[in-house]
Amino acid sequence: MNAVETNGLGKRYGNAWALRECTLAIPAGHVAALVGPNGAGKSTLLNLVVGLAAPSAGIVTVLDGQPAGSAAALDGIAFVAQDAPLYRNLTPSEMLHLTRNLNRRFDEGYAKARLRDLGIPLERKAAKLSGGQQSQLALTLALARRPQLLVLDEPMAMLDPLARHDFMATVMAAIADDGLSVLLSSHVLTELERVADFLVLVSHGSVQVAGAVDDLIASHRVLTGPASEADAYAERQNVVHAQRGEAQAHMLVRIDARTGPVPPGWEAHPVSLEELTLAYLREPSAAWLPGPGALRLEPIEVSN
């Protein structure tokens, strides 16, 4: 079962494509991180997934084939938008009541217990809660709906480090309890590295990398060797991105049938998720996209 599946998905605002040719399958049961620079199309993709925006091209389905935005999709997805919008003049207790009235399922006991544990006063207007409390309230409302898929758009952008930690702890506890799928976006990768086991990298309106984090790590490595030899090996080593210093060069290489053995005088290291993401972001023409069926490799270039 796929939590999210897109095929040729595109969204155009006026004449500009915010997202185009997006074909993607995120299996259920994962914490999928949607990363990319600001303006890359992350929010657009999330809006399409939760049904707030309608596609200009292609299709998007969620929860095993339900059209995004359909009644079944809305029922099974909880979404926390960027900046956790809440009705400013309502109190947490009223927001609970509101959300219960707008959904078939709502675990009010869970929500109240969570807010109590977090020390969020139930009778204070949302406008007077701190940014961290507002985010936690929005997340609690979403989790109390007992969704199959939780979608979070830049959930931690407004939070200080402690609040970020608390926020992710809430998400991780819910995953452990309910086994829900999570799709969350961020332009800061480090905060997702600990939790994400699936990565979707978006840049310039298209998906550049999509895959399970374990697969990504296992199929890439970093080679370090003399800068003078870098060009010679670049072609043979299936290089995604090469970074050259005065003496040494670091090359992120993809391991597949075309990849040769580690050249003499070079060292191979496992790659971290952050290095891998940065390398692909610096190399917009490189892509690593296992489609719904087969692994699709785009031609790659080596830059200087």
Partner: protein, 327 residues
């Protein structure tokens, strides 16, 4: 959903009730003494005597101007409801981003907007309908006294019968539609007031006079309470200006200041009688087009009908935009 609508819009609903309540208190406080005064005037016997006619005229001179001002102010009610209850309904959701919360709940955005719009539209319409009953009570003595402005007079017509409820509903629908189009609270409020004002002006000044073909008469005695649309003098089939009227009046030294206002001079004979009759006897014809007061309810249902249709179209368009409009 009823709780949701009530909790989120109770402030707007309280504002609507407060607005009508304040206006109602004002109408009661000024209306009760007016009713008492008219009871005294209406008890005058024998009716039609000079004394009784003077009492009626004094009553109208005392109370009619105040009623006119009051009705002028009450014209703003539908616009205020459209701007403060209608326009922010969706514009605030867009402005604060809360539509991203509301439209991703299991309830679904189509049902969400329909439930809100229907209950609020019904609430403001009922409030306006109740208030217009009070307006009708308030103005009754002025109409009974035979004021020259009858029930079809523009600022009274749209506050009485079904018109006030229909205008309030239309203003509310204009407000929510402006809100979904403009997506900003304050600009949507201004757009609502401007659109309502344009529609109300065009209706009062041009449309309403043609709901039914006006009555055309040469009889200078127009029935009491009629809404006069046009009145003018003709001679030999051509419009007669002030010059022609004054030429006709020259032998009796009467001067026409306007086609309806005549001033006798020092040489005017005391037995001239009605100057209008004098002009008619001397070859002029007064043509009047008017809507008789008896058409009041026909006009009310026509106006109520098309305003209801307009409101339903705007509400349907709002629902359609909410359903398809992207984030």
């Amino acid at each position: 959903m009823a709780w949701v609508t009530w909790r989120q819009h109770r402030l707007a609903l309280a504002g609507v009730v407060a607005l009508f309540g304040a206006a109602a208190v004002y109408l009661l406080v000024t209306g009760l003494p007016m009713h008492d005064a008219y009871r005294a005037v209406a008890g005058c016997r024998p009716t039609g005597s000079d004394l009784c006619n003077k009492a009626v005229n004094d009553f109208l001179r005392t109370y009619a101007p105040g009623v006119g001002v009051t009705f002028g102010l009450l014209q703003a009610i539908p616009a205020l409801i459209g701007a403060f209850a209608g326009a922010p309904l969706l514009a605030r959701e867009f402005e604060t981003g809360t539509f991203r919360y509301a439209w991703t709940q299991g309830f679904g955005r189509a049902r969400w907007i329909v439930a809100k719009l229907v209950s609020l539209a019904v609430a403001v319409t009922i409030a306006a309908a109740v208030f217009s009953v009070l307006v009708s009570w308030y103005v009754q003595p002025i109409l009974d006294a035979g004021d020259s402005n009858g029930p079809l007079y523009p600022t009274l017509f749209d506050l009485s019968g079904v018109a006030l409820a229909a205008w309030t509903l239309a203003a509310f629908a204009i407000g929510v539609f402006a809100g979904v189009l403009i997506r900003r609270v304050v600009p949507a409020m201004f757009a609502t007031i401007a659109s309502w004002a344009a529609l109300a002006f065009v209706t009062g000044a041009f449309l309403r006079a043609h709901y039914l073909a006006p009555v055309l008469t040469t009889n200078p005695n127009i029935p009491t309470g009629a809404w006069i649309i046009n009145q003018g003098w003709f001679k030999g089939g051509n419009p007669a200006g002030l010059d022609t009227i004054n030429q006709t009046f020259a032998p009796v030294d009467v001067r026409a200041i306007t086609p309806n206002l005549f001033q006798p001079g020092p040489a005017t004979p005391a037995n001239l009688g009605d100057p209008v009759q004098y002009l008619i006897q001397h070859g002029l014809t007064q043509l009047t087009t008017y809507q008789p007061a008896s058409r009041f309810w026909t006009f009310q249902w026509i106006e109520g009908g098309w305003l209801l249709a307009l409101s339903l179209i705007l509400i349907a368009a709002t629902v359609w935009l909410v359903r398809r409009r992207a984030a």
